[in-house]
């Protein structure tokens, strides 16, 4: 059952990501990316990490994507012109696009080869391990003790980003 769900969510995620990079309209790309995040959220639930799954939806799909949506609506360029000119900008046109496609395939081949060479590492399905990993109390404990410094620095980072975004988007810099 878990394997079926893995392939289902995996197909949703990969399919939606392909649609993101293949759409002409940025609004549709944003919507497909939200679908991809929902697929990823399902994968996190399969990995016994419901807290990460829920955080993914609240933060990524619920906040960052709304930000993207606002900017897409504000900028309002419904189509990307370059993609239509197939001779110069088709998928396998000479120049950076061909190298990009080749690079992606090479990367995938490398990763696939590396994974094929490693021995199978099954995910332990014991209840004790699963409960430990999915327990929000445990995440909280480690987040605030072992990784406390990183947590505080992240909050400063977010403050800096907030100030930066407000300043950068002003009409007269």
């Amino acid at each position: 059952m878990d394997v079926v769900l893995f392939y289902l969510f995996g197909a949703v995620t990969v399919g939606a990501s392909l649609a993101v990079i293949g759409q002409r309209s940025p609004l549709r790309s944003v919507l497909w990316l939200i679908a991809s995040f929902l697929g990823l959220s399902g994968l996190y639930v399969l990995l016994d990490s419901p807290f990460t799954a829920v955080t993914q939806i609240i933060v990524y799909a619920g906040a960052i994507m709304v930000l993207f949506l606002f900017v897409v609506m504000l900028v309002n360029r419904p189509r990307e012109e370059a993609l239509a000119d197939h001779a110069r900008n088709g998928l396998l046109a000479k120049g950076p696009r061909r190298s990009a496609a080749a690079l992606a395939v090479a990367f995938l081949a490398l990763v696939g080869w590396a994974i094929a060479r490693t021995p199978e590492r099954p995910i332990i399905a014991e209840a004790a391990v699963a409960d430990h990993v999915s327990s929000v109390a445990q995440i909280g404990r480690e987040l605030f003790t072992t990784h406390g410094f990183a947590f505080e620095v992240t909050s400063v980072l977010i403050l800096v980003a907030m100030v930066g975004a407000v300043v950068l988007a002003k009409r007269v810099l």
């Binding site: 878990d2 995620t13 759409q23 996190y44 990490s49 990009a100 992606a104």
Partner: protein, 100 residues
């Protein structure tokens, strides 16, 4: 339950899709979206390895990656808005005046 290798392969595929998107698309917003795909692929790797090793550190690192991605998306989009105000286009080829 699929093994760790399944998740790593899926994560690799997502990362490759994201990379292709960054190189292929000539629209800065879609490039930012492809970067988000890459960040999510990395998150999946962290959570999967964390689960295999039976530790919550994978999820904690994924949590930090999400926070950083949010900050980066906010600043990136502010820059996109400014760029659009300067040249009225979202095509990155319009901002190549420093290239030789």
């Amino acid at each position: 339950m699929p093994s760790l290798n399944h998740f790593l392969l899926l994560s690799g595929v997502l990362f490759a899709i994201g990379t292709t998107g960054v190189f292929l698309r000539r629209n800065v917003i879609t490039m930012l979206l492809s970067i988000e795909i890459m960040l999510n692929a990395v998150n999946l790797t962290f959570v999967a390895v964390g689960r295999t090793l039976g530790s919550v550190e994978g999820q904690i690192i994924a949590f930090f990656v999400m926070a950083v991605a949010a900050a980066e998306a906010a600043v990136g989009l502010a820059i996109v808005i400014q760029l659009f105000r300067q040249r009225e286009t979202l095509n990155p080829d319009a901002f190549t005046s420093l290239k030789w």
